[in-house]
Symmetry: C3
Subunit: 169 residues, 3 copies
């Protein structure tokens, strides 16, 4: 039986993380590993990470891994894992000079290997004007493809807007 995969997408500040945390709590109670992909390069980012951490249940494990997310997933102590977020993982891999096909293969491998109940948070970034710079356009493409793969593999999927979920699947 394939593992349960909950896919949660939406824009910035759309309430994705809060929704995903509520779903993780419903599925795993206190037995949830939070797998963070964020890297704090500056104060703005450090603030965002700190704010998010303070909002999570104290009993949850936290793993921080910007690149080897599949390895961190295998190392997780709990049967329910909340990956927050796929979009930053893709961004981290791009910044570490991984080519597009290697990034998408990593996403495929993670989805294929996974045996846990996995909640995946990600971002929709393709609903604005075409960005001026080529790196942003490449990120839109690669993340869009990665999102499609995760959404296709999901057993339930949601689009968040203003904190409210639309059921995609």
């Amino acid at each position: 039986m394939p593992a349960e995969l909950v896919f949660v997408t939406g824009g910035a500040r759309s309430g994705k993380s809060a929704f995903a945390e509520a779903r993780a709590h419903a599925l795993g109670g206190a037995g949830v590993t939070y797998l963070a992909t964020a890297q704090a390069f500056d104060d703005e980012m450090r603030d965002r990470i700190g704010r998010h951490r303070a909002d999570r249940p104290a009993a949850w494990d936290t793993l921080e891994e910007p690149l080897d997310v599949a390895g961190a997933l295998r190392a997780a102590r709990h049967p329910v894992v909340l990956l927050d977020c796929l979009s930053l993982w893709v961004s981290n891999l791009m910044l570490a000079d991984h080519p597009d096909d290697a990034i998408l293969r990593r996403v495929d491998d993670l989805l294929a290997e996974n045996t846990r109940t996995l909640i995946v948070v990600t971002n929709e970034v393709g609903l604005g004007i075409v960005p001026d710079n080529a790196l942003a356009r490449r990120y839109r493409d690669v993340l869009g493809w990665a999102n499609q793969r995760a959404a296709r593999a999901s057993t339930e999927a949601y689009l968040l807007a203003s904190g409210l979920p639309l059921r995609l699947k």
Copy 2:
């Protein structure tokens, strides 16, 4: 009993205002106060405001208030008020140097005080690439939080796309 709150969000040119006006007309007929937060700084903005006004029923009252929206709401003559829009109000407060928490407190206060049937129009702005400039990122955050508060307090909520509504709540 809490007042009725209709939340209407969507992108630019997604038909939010037309949908909100139709909803206001259905709820209040000719007895609607239109509460505009737009300020005409330039010709482009003046054109947009003029076009919108020409589309509204002539019987409706119009109040224009960029900052003290709660005060304007208390002064409205009709039991149905259409606030167009929350996103510009937040933008006006930011440009007038109000800090984030003060802006969100104003939104909370307006939602808590309101005794009318209120239709709130707002924008989703978080579904593109992360903006280059810090002010735009801050606006995305604050507006996202404001939208979540209004959507949570709403009794019905819609996301517009290409002029068509998706029911959020």
Copy 3:
């Protein structure tokens, strides 16, 4: 009886074209004319066009027309036409110095004249921060209005996110 019109919108890399192609195949089988509006100005664009073409059934006709889309539609050999995409057509007309009202009239005329089963692919571009440059703001406006017209005339409509469809109509 008005012709069947399937409206497919979404962000970049949201799976719009694949969804529209599947819908075209279901409606027309091998008897589909693919009407492409893309113009290859540079290598990036040529790559995108080539990738898309390789994904389509070999039996389909392809017409390429950046500007006179109504003429190409009349010339199509099959009763089912997939227009990919409205958003690039609007962009091409703007770059060829057509004024806004002339562009929207062309869209209206195409919708009014059409007697085929038409699948229209387009982009939602209004869900990010207001763009800095005036041309991008104008494009958001004109495309938003064009999308509303096509969505209003449609007999079915979908918003794609991460490859999954939300039914708009």
